[in-house]
């Protein structure tokens, strides 16, 4: 009986690792920089960070990226900002590679953000207060809250 249980457990582990390793493989994604891909890249980040949010909540996430591109504190490119280590949880956990649903509004939101639309009025940071414990983030000055995200700037 014990042996069977161990055997079953090992089988389950085996299945889990196979499934897991498959997922890990599919998240390897090479990005060829071209102008259209930047809209695509921004759309994918918005999709990963704010797909359940309202339209202006989605534009706002895109706007934070664009504000960072323009700010001397951050890299000069959309890809540079998005892939800075440790900046976005959706990049760290691979959610940025999730496929975008067909009738999703994230492309339009990305395009609007690139065009300069900014519901956050210049915010450089956003966070979900229920998912972060960072004291530093909470110390920032909140500009606005849209859906689950707080948009903030330095005091």
């Amino acid at each position: 009986m014990k042996k069977i249980a161990i055997c079953l457990f090992l089988c389950l582990l085996l299945i889990a690792t196979i499934v897991y390793s498959k997922e890990a493989q599919s998240s390897i994604y090479t990005d060829v920089p071209s102008s259209d891909n930047m809209v695509e890249l921004l759309a994918r980040l918005i999709n990963a960070e704010a797909r359940g949010e309202s339209y202006s909540g989605q534009v706002a996430v895109g706007a934070v990226i664009m504000n960072r591109v323009k700010s001397p504190l951050f890299p000069n490119t959309i890809a540079g900002v998005i892939y800075s280590p440790g900046q976005f949880s959706s990049v760290a956990d691979g959610q940025i590679n999730l496929p975008i649903e067909e009738d999703s509004s994230v492309y339009m939101a990305a395009q609007d953000a690139i065009n300069g639309v900014d519901p956050t009025s210049g915010a450089l940071y956003f966070y979900n207060p229920s998912k972060t414990k960072s004291k530093w983030l909470f110390s920032l000055q909140t500009v606005t809250t849209i859906g689950k995200h707080v948009f903030a700037k330095e005091r």
């Binding site: 001397p72 504190l73 890299p75 900014d118 519901p119």
Partner: protein, 452 residues
């Protein structure tokens, strides 16, 4: 579960204990091998990641030390040509170091601080290069002072990186520990951003120009104080009745007050979000998200609708510069016109739905911050400026244009639209100094005209 147990017992009975033992052994061996394989893959992956971090760190340390030495040379050189090549080298290395820095897994507040110094260094070297090339008169004292200031920061950074480098090599800090260790070392040795200098920093090189369809000057950094607004502050209620009037609807609801780059009131007007400025009650932004399923009207009608809409907000003296069609919507960029001169800093973007022709989006940030009455006074004639242009360029159109510069000012230029072979160009010649301020290539793409 019971069935499975019975099955196993039956197999056991059939095969005998020995064989079952072998099977167990085989299963365990396979699983062990499998895990070892995964572990190996993981190790390789980690090594590759650490290698790329190491590469970026070594390159970064090298860049910073090179910048430091070049800046030291700048402090003593008196020869313009030597100064120029040195500045060019500082510029290139500062940019390369910014890119290397963005790869390193340091904590955000450290990278932001370092990024700031490096951007300053890159911007300043570029500005100086331009000034020397255009033989502008330079204030030697100011330059010495600025270079000293930047040198001291880079020197500080260089020292901090050197001690980090030593620690990494001697103590063998792992990359997963570096975040903490590196933060401590760098944080201790680099002083905070001097608030008096940080306000002056500009960032003229954003690399996303190519994807913006609304024309050459859309990246212009905003001036700090909105020039188009008077000091009159409107109340929430005034804003509400203003919107009811302009949008001809009773469905206006105040949402919140925003205090970001500029003070704004946010309202819900029908299904759209509308932002107006607290100062003066001007339209700042409108966001609508209706999905447009089909195209019923032509671009011309859409442009007319956009103009009609802006006219209601007393924005009349404008001209469309570029437009982009996407998903049954048309986004049009307008720039302000004063005395027949096009003012490229005063940008407004309007998105029109091509099914019912209604306005979907407005973005007037550039207009709000920059529009004001200017004194326009071209020093040289169009003919003199034309002589400065490549004679092979077939000039189709000339006019006066105010264009934004990297240093947040604007300069009055003659804009020449012309072509060489089948390539179209926009060339901007400064009316006073007659130097070429900008050249853009115009590309016709499916979505609209792209200025690169």
């Amino acid at each position: 579960m019971e069935k499975f147990e019975k099955l196993v017992i039956r197999i056991k009975e059939k095969l005998g204990d020995k064989k079952v033992g072998i099977i167990y052994f085989a299963i365990i061996a396979i699983i062990t091998l499998f895990f070892m394989n995964i572990l190996k893959g993981y190790k390789i992956e980690r090594q590759e990641r650490e290698d790329s971090y190491n590469k970026a760190l070594y390159n970064f340390i090298g860049d910073i030390s090179n910048i430091k030495n070049e800046m030291l040379k700048l402090k003593i050189t008196t020869n313009d040509t030597y100064t120029l090549t040195t500045l060019a080298s500082v510029f290139a290395k500062a940019n390369s170091s910014i890119s290397n820095l963005s790869t390193l897994p340091l904590s955000p507040n450290i990278t932001e601080k370092i990024n700031m110094y490096l951007t300053q260094t890159s911007d300043y070297s570029y500005t100086l290069m331009r000034a020397i090339l255009n033989s502008q008169e330079l204030k030697e004292d100011d330059i010495r002072q600025n270079i000293d200031l930047l040198y001291n920061k880079i020197d500080e950074l260089d020292k901090a990186l050197n001690s980090l480098y030593i620690q990494i090599n001697e103590k063998g800090i792992k990359w997963n520990e570096l975040k903490e260790e590196g933060d401590n070392i760098l944080n201790d040795q680099i002083t905070d951003i001097d608030s008096t200098t940080s306000g002056k920093i500009i960032k003229p090189f954003t690399d996303y120009e190519g994807i913006i369809y609304d024309g050459a000057f859309s990246n212009h950094i905003l001036s700090l104080k909105p020039k188009s607004l008077s000091d009159r502050i409107i109340s929430q209620e005034e804003g509400e009745s203003l919107l009811k009037d302009k949008f001809e609807t009773m469905n206006v609801q105040f949402i919140e007050e925003l205090n970001g780059q500029i003070e704004l009131y946010k309202y819900k007007v029908d299904e759209n979000e509308v932002y107006i400025t607290k100062q003066d009650g001007k339209l700042y932004q409108m966001i609508g998200n209706r999905k447009v399923e089909e195209k019923k009207i032509e671009s011309k009608e859409a442009i007319d609708n956009a103009k009609e809409f802006l006219k209601k907000w007393n924005i009349e003296s404008i001209e469309q510069t570029y437009y982009q069609e996407m998903d049954n919507t048309l986004t049009i960029s307008f720039a302000a016109i004063q005395d027949n001169v096009i003012c490229y800093s005063d940008l407004i973007k309007v998105k029109v739905a091509l099914d019912n022709g209604k306005i979907l989006m407005v973005e007037a940030n550039g207009y709000i911050f920059n529009n004001h009455l200017r004194v326009i006074n071209p020093v040289n004639t169009e003919q003199t400026a034309k002589e400065k242009i490549n004679p092979n360029l077939n000039i189709e159109k000339t006019r006066l244009a105010l264009i934004p510069t990297e240093s947040k000012d604007e300069v009055l230029c003659y804009e020449f639209l012309g072509s060489i072979e089948d390539k179209k160009f926009l060339v901007y010649i400064n009316t006073a100094s007659l130097i070429t301020e900008k050249i853009y290539i115009l590309l016709d793409t499916q979505g609209g005209t792209l200025a690169i």
